[in-house]
């Protein structure tokens, strides 16, 4: 994959919990399971650490897609964190749909430390979706004041 001048390269932020998904990403790495360099990972202790402010901030600063990865429900290192994250993200993303943000720009995926393959596949899919959607213009500024 080479950087072509004209090709749209999305900016993607992935929040990964330290215990499962970050380890899943490490496994994808050590298994040499490629996914586009557009994805940049931010390590958080748990998916429940992800504040909606972080997600909106990313979009506002020019991210084209944001994905949250955590332990599978029931496997959270802190036992309940991902359950709270699930509710928060469901409601936040539903709100973003509601204000007209393309549905594909946000995603939650549960990836265990053993699921390197799933991590890589998920990121490939997600980048593909975002490429299809193109540049994020709407969430840059909802008020569209120039």
């Amino acid at each position: 994959m080479s950087i072509k001048g004209e090709e749209f390269r999305p900016q993607i932020v992935a929040f990964c919990c330290n215990w499962c998904s970050y380890a899943g990403a490490d496994l994808a790495g050590s298994s040499r399971l490629a996914y586009p360099a557009d994805v940049k990972i931010i390590r958080v202790p748990c998916s429940c650490r992800v504040n909606p402010m972080f997600i909106l901030r990313a979009f506002e600063k020019g991210a084209d897609g944001v994905i949250i990865c955590g332990c599978h429900p029931g496997d959270c290192h802190y036992s309940t964190g991902n359950y709270y994250a699930r509710r928060r993200m469901t409601l936040l993303f539903s709100m973003l749909d509601y204000v007209g943000i393309e549905r594909g720009r946000t995603r939650v995926e549960w990836v265990s430390a053993a699921e390197g393959v799933k991590f890589s596949q998920t990121m490939n899919e997600f980048v593909e979706t975002i490429r299809g959607l193109g540049k994020n213009v709407r969430l840059g500024d909802l008020r569209c004041k120039k």
């Binding site: 506002e60 429900p73 509710r87 993303f93 007209g100 943000i101 995603r107 909802l142």
Partner: protein, 321 residues
């Protein structure tokens, strides 16, 4: 109204209360404002009529710091907010003597103005003791008759009911004003295409001047220090320097009150730009009801809110409708 005043005078005389949190006459016939009354004599300025839409719950955060007992007047819908504030330890129930007052629907002068009525000098028929069927709007150009219902606030058309959720005593009758579908507005937006939705909100939110009236009036927005004034997120207000708080303000505000918002409708009532802000809160309420079961914030002061709770088999974000 006299009934309330007499009762308050009685309570003062009996030494049961030290002050009253109510409404006083404004500078215009249709803008009474929240006020503390420190004595029976001060009650001469007291008013309770169809324009007393203001929810006094939030003012009791301040009231809780005062010495002694404060009588607070709450309409049925205001009691949800009060309960929520009790739950969040923001008000001191012990210091409140809650008089649940009846409500026959609250009026919105903007709705009258929207009928093309200009030069309003006085409005008759807004007295709570009346039948609340008709308003006589006196204008520079003569009297206009307006149906009471047509001049009501949006929230009264989707009224939560005549029951007070928390009170020490009740005064005055309430009337049924419910004649609309609470979620119709949200559903209409949900039915739009993403482009139309974005266009709708872009148009509405472009009107926002960040005056913070919605935040200041909201009983759920009762934080000592708002996150938008906090340096913890690099989101503090730096006028026109950082657009972050500008662009995301309403989404974040709605999220912060999700599961705590009682849908009291004050945000829309006070917005000087007429932005239908309740459409954000109500979207969260609708989603919460649909996804996690019916929940009414402030119905009681004990139950866990939907965002501080979960079930093992909650739906996934990808399954959202």
């Amino acid at each position: 109204m006299q009934e309330i005043i007499s009762r308050l005078e009685e309570l003062f005389a009996e030494g049961k209360i030290n002050r009253v949190l109510g409404w006083k006459k404004g500078d215009l016939p249709y803008n009474p404002e929240p006020a503390y009354f420190e004595s029976a004599e001060a009650l001469k300025d007291f008013v309770y009529d169809g324009f007393c839409g203001a929810n006094l719950s939030k003012y009791f955060i301040q009231g809780s710091a005062f010495e002694g007992v404060t009588a607070i007047l709450l309409k049925p819908c205001d009691t949800y907010s009060f309960n929520q504030l009790i739950k969040e330890h923001r008000v001191d129930r012990e210091k409140a003597y809650i008089i649940g007052v009846g409500c026959k629907g609250k009026l919105n002068v903007e709705a009258i103005k929207a009928m093309g009525i200009k030069g309003i000098t006085d409005i008759k028929g807004a007295e709570i003791d009346g039948d609340c069927k008709e308003l006589t709007v006196e204008t520079l150009y003569g009297d206009k008759i307006v149906a009471y219902k047509d001049a009501m606030l949006e929230r009264c058309h989707v009224c939560k009911g005549k029951e007070h959720m928390v009170y020490d005593e009740l005064l005055l009758e309430s009337a049924d004003t419910l004649d609309g579908d609470r979620f119709a507005g949200v559903e209409a937006i949900e039915a739009m295409s993403p482009e139309e939705k974005f266009e709708f909100f872009r148009k509405e939110l472009s009107k926002c001047i960040r005056c913070n009236a919605c935040r200041n009036v909201c009983p759920a927005c009762s934080c000592r220090k708002c996150v938008f004034d906090s340096n913890k997120f690099d989101s503090e207000q730096k006028a026109n320097v950082d657009p972050f708080n500008e662009s995301m303000f309403h989404i974040i505000r709605a999220f912060h009150v999700a599961g705590r918002c009682t849908d009291c409708g004050e945000c829309s009532r006070v917005c000087p730009q007429g932005i239908p802000l309740h459409l954000f809160n109500r979207k969260f309420i609708k989603d919460i009801n649909e996804y996690y079961g019916d929940f009414i914030a402030g119905e009681n002061a004990e139950e866990k809110g939907p965002l501080t709770n979960f079930t093992l088999d909650d739906m996934e974000a990808s399954e959202r409708r």
